[in-house]
C-alpha cells in the first residue's frame, strides 16, 4: 500500500448511493499506519509515538499531582491516585504474590498497569482516537520486560539446572509422559508465553480499534438518502462500542498485569 493511503485512509466524499463510484472505505491495516509527523535525522516520529509519550506525560503528571506532596489526610486527586494504586497493589500483586514477596514488584506492576491502561484509553479520547497498544511494538516491549524479569528471577532463584526444571515442569512422578510434558512446557513457557502475552493485549486493542473505526466510518458513509436509518444504527453502535472498549481497555491492562504477576510467582515458587 502506498503512503498516500495511510492516515485514516478514507475518502470523505464517499457516500452510499452517491454516484461518484467509490465503495465503502473499509478500515484495515492502513488504519494502523501513520505518516510521520516529523522526521529527525531519518527517525520518523509518528502519531503513535506521540501518544505513547503523552501517555507517559499524563501518568507522571497525574501521579505527581496525587503523590508528589502526599498528605496523611488526602485531597481529592491523592484519593483517586491512592484508589488506583491500591487496586493494583492489593487487588493484583498482593493477591497473587502475597504481601511479603510481592512488595518488591509493586512499582513494576503499577507502572505496567497504568501505562497500558492509558495507552489503551487513547482509543476513545477525541483527537487521539488510537490505542497505542494496537501497534505490536508497545505490548512487545512490555512483554519483553516481564519476560526478562521472569527469566532472571528464575535463574536467580533456582540456578541453571533449577531454571530448566522450572521451565520444563520437571516432575518425576509423571513417568513416561515426562519427556512429552517437558517439551510442551519448554515451548509453552519459554517461547510461546511472551508472544501470547504481548499479542493478547495487541489483538484486543487492534480488533477494538477496527470495530470503532468501522462503525464510525459507516456512520458517515451511510448518511445519505433513506440509509440515514443505517447511519443512526451505526452511530448507536459506535457509542456502544466506545463503552465496551472502555471496559476492554481496563480489562486488558488488568489481565496483562495479572499474568505478569503469575509469571513472577511461577519463578519464585519452589515447585513449578
Amino acid at each position: 500500500m502506498s503512503a498516500d493511503q495511510t492516515q485514516l485512509a478514507f475518502d470523505w466524499s464517499c457516500r452510499v448511493l452517491s454516484d461518484n463510484g467509490c465503495g465503502f472505505p473499509a478500515p484495515g491495516l492502513q488504519s494502523f499506519m501513520f505518516k510521520p509527523l516529523a522526521t529527525v535525522g531519518g527517525f520518523e516520529f509518528n502519531k503513535v509515538m506521540l501518544l505513547a509519550l503523552l501517555a507517559t506525560l499524563v501518568i507522571v503528571a497525574f501521579f505527581w499531582a496525587a503523590f508528589g506532596k502526599a498528605k496523611v489526610v488526602p485531597g481529592k486527586v491523592q484519593m483517586i491516585g491512592e484508589a488506583g494504586y491500591d487496586f493494583v497493589r492489593r487487588g493484583i500483586v498482593y493477591e497473587t504474590l502475597g504481601k511479603r514477596e510481592g512488595e518488591k514488584y509493586v512499582p513494576l506492576m503499577v507502572s505496567l498497569f497504568f501505562f497500558i491502561w492509558i495507552m489503551n484509553v487513547w482509543s476513545v479520547i477525541p483527537l487521539a482516537q488510537f490505542p497505542v497498544s494496537s501497534v505490536i511494538a508497545y505490548p512487545a516491549v512490555l512483554a519483553a520486560i516481564v519476560y526478562l524479569t521472569w527469566v532472571v528471577l528464575t535463574f536467580k532463584k533456582h540456578g541453571f539446572v533449577g531454571f530448566f526444571k522450572n521451565v520444563t515442569g520437571y516432575d518425576k512422578s509423571l513417568g513416561a509422559v515426562l519427556p512429552l510434558v517437558m517439551v510442551i512446557e519448554f515451548f509453552s513457557n519459554l517461547l510461546v508465553r511472551p508472544f501470547t502475552h504481548a499479542v493478547r493485549l495487541f489483538a484486543n486493542m487492534f480488533a477494538g480499534h477496527l470495530m470503532l473505526v468501522m462503525f464510525t466510518v459507516a456512520s458517515w458513509y451511510l448518511l445519505n438518502s433513506w440509509l440515514v436509518v443505517g447511519a443512526g444504527v451505526s452511530f448507536v453502535m459506535t457509542m456502544a462500542m466506545i463503552c465496551f472498549e472502555l471496559f476492554v481497555q481496563a480489562v486488558q491492562a488488568y489481565v496483562f498485569v495479572l499474568l505478569a504477576c503469575s509469571y513472577v510467582q511461577g519463578a519464585l515458587s519452589e515447585h513449578h
Binding site: 507522571v60 496523611v72 497504568f114 516491549v141 512490555l142
Partner: protein, 183 residues
Amino acid sequence: MIANLVQLAAEETEQNPLVPPGPELLVGTIAFAIVFFFFWKKLLPNINKVLEERRAAIEGGIEEADAMKVEAQSVLEQYKAQLAEARHEAARLRQEAQEQGATLIAEMRAEGQRQREEIVAAGHAQIEADRKAAAQALRQDVGTLATELAGKLVGESLEDHARQSRVIDRFLDELEEKAEAAR
C-alpha cells in the same frame, strides 16, 4: 514459530502488524522507562511513606483510645473499691457504736445496782447500829428498872396478890409516864 512469523513478516515488510518496527520499540521502551522510573524512585516511596504514617496515626489513635479506656476502667474500679470500703467502714462504725452503747448501758446498770446495794447495805448497817444502841440502852435501863421494881415490891408487904398486882400496874404506869416525859 516466531522465526516463521519473522520470515512471514520479512516477505510482507511493513504490512505485518505482528512485526514490531524498531523505532516504535525504542519509543515504547523510553516511554515505559520514564513511567517506571518515576513510580519506582519517587512517587511510590512517597505515597508508601504517607500510607505508613496514616496507618501509624490510625493505630496510634486506637491505642490512645484503648489506653484511655483502660484508665477509665481502673478509675471506676478504684472508685467502686473506695465506695465499698466506705460502706464497710460505716457499717463497722455503727456496729462499734452499738456495742459501745450496749456496754455503756450495762456499765450504768451495774453501777446503779452497786449504788443501790451500797445504799441498802448502809441502811441495814444504820438499822443494826440503832438496834444495838437501843438494846444497849434498854439493857442498862432494864437492870435499873428491875432493881427499882424489886425494891418497891420488897418494900411493900407482899400480902396479897391484889396488892402485888397494883404495884406492878403502878410501876408500869410510872414507866410509861417516864417514857412519855422522856419523849
